[in-house]
Structures are given as C-alpha cells and as structure tokens.
C-alpha cells in the first residue's frame, strides 16, 4: 500500500512554464510525463510528477488555493517523514518559497509536513507556507 506526498504550488502561469521554473530553481529535470498535462522527473529512485491537482479544501489544508501539485509516492514500510521523496520535496518547497512562490507540503492528503510547518512558523514577516 503506497501513500502520497504532495507539494502544492500556487502559480498562475501554464504548467510548462512552471515545470521550467521548478527545474531551473531546484535542479530537477522535469520532462513531459506519460499522461497529457503532466511533467515528471526521476532523481535516483525518486519519481515525482507535476500536474494540475484535483483535490478540494479539507480543514486547514486549503488545497484549492494552489493550482498545481508536485507529487511522489512512498511504499508501505517506509516512514513518510523520512522517505527520500519527502526530503526532495522539502528541498523543492524551501527553494520555491525563497523564490516567492506559495507552497504547502502534505502527507498522504491528510496533514501538513511538520518540518516545513515548523520552518514557516519560525520565519519573520508574511508567511508563504499556506493560506
């Protein structure tokens, strides 16, 4: 049983422009994915996919604020918080936030990544870790 890790990203531009921006800022080589409208990258054993996400707001997860999600999956038996894909998406989240993009990292569509939430909470000034 796999679980998802999703980095929600707010950007109004088309997905191909966001894919290029994420690639340039984060060093990810995003290529057109298997499904139309998706972009994918492989970093070692980590696979992530960028797409327009279909999810709705759920409590403090204000997902509809974000247009896109960069998502990966974690196999059962591996802690989500320690998984290589989670570490990668934390790095992408931090890089994008420093570049002024609004992001939100969510575990298995259930709760925020606590490491990113703690960093965002500690930052002075306007927060960009979620609406």
């Amino acid at each position: 049983m796999s679980r998802s890790i999703d980095l929600f990203i707010q950007r109004d531009q088309p997905i191909e422009e966001l894919a290029e921006e994420v690639g340039r800022l984060c060093g990810l080589s995003l290529q057109p994915g298997a499904l139309p409208g998706t972009w994918a990258a492989d970093e070692g054993e980590v696979h992530v996919e960028l797409r327009t996400h279909p999810y709705i707001d759920d409590g403090d997860l204000v997902l509809e604020h974000y247009r896109y999600a960069l998502s990966g999956r974690v196999a059962n038996g591996t802690r989500l918080s320690d998984a290589p894909v989670t570490v990668l998406l934390r790095m992408v989240s931090e890089t994008l936030r420093k570049a002024g993009l609004s992001t939100l990292l969510v575990h298995d569509l259930q709760y925020r990544d606590q490491a990113v939430a703690a960093v965002v909470a500690a930052e002075p000034g306007p927060q960009s870790g979620g609406k």
């Binding site: 049983m1 796999s2 679980r3 998802s4 298997a34 994918a40 492989d42 054993e45 696979h47 992530v48 996919e49 279909p54 999810y55 709705i56 707001d57 759920d58 409590g59 403090d60 997902l63 990966g72 999956r73 196999a75 298995d108 569509l109 259930q110 709760y111 925020r112 606590q114």
Partner: protein, 136 residues
Amino acid sequence: VARRLADEGHDVRSLRESRGGGRRPDLAVCGTAVEVKSFASAADRPGSPPTDRSVYNKLVDASGQAPHVVLTGYGSGLTEATVRRGLARFTRSGPSAALTSVAALGDGFDLAWTRSPVSERRPVPGRSRPAPAIGL
C-alpha cells in the same frame, strides 16, 4: 486488507511500486486491480479526524489508480456517516465514472458501494440521463 480478502477465498497479489514511478494499484485480487487507501490513526496524525472532504480527496486520488477501492480508517476517527457524506460528494462532483466499487472499513462499520450499470436505466424523454444509482 489483503489478508481479509485472501480469507474470503480471493487470490490476492501485492503489486510492487513501478520503478521509474507512475501510479499503479496496490493489489491484484483475482486478477482485478484494487487500490487501498488508509487514514492514519489518531495517534499518528496531527489535527482532527477525517472529514467527508478527506474521503472525497482519497477517492479522487484512488480513481487514477484502480477501478476498485478499499478505504480503511481503523483508529483514525473515521465514521460511517463521514464515509457516506464523502461518497455522496464524490458521486456528485468527483470523477466517479472511473470507479466501479468502493468498500469502506473502520471501527464499527463495513460498507460497500457498487456502481449500477447506466445501461439498465432508461433515460426519460426530454430530460437528461439520470446519474447511476449508488447505494451503501
């Protein structure tokens, strides 16, 4: 979930994550793809118990992986009423055509939903075709 299905006499095989990524189902049950979605236990997740919106999002996620879905919510605070509301929301506005069946297991409930074939329902002349019936 796999053990339970096997105990019921099904041939259950666990499917590995595909190398190079991609979304694929968790199990093959008698050759049919089944996706299992679980809610973390209350001890393992911060915040409130799953809501109907949580159920909706899980079903949307699963709909891209397999036509048959099992939701498990043992210890998470997921209730039968929440599952029903989430499923109703999903059939109203989600990509429900992608799913053939949904089962939901949790503390005190064991539910199943199966899509009724649209072809068995006659459209009323001059009106739009009715949505497939659902039942839990």
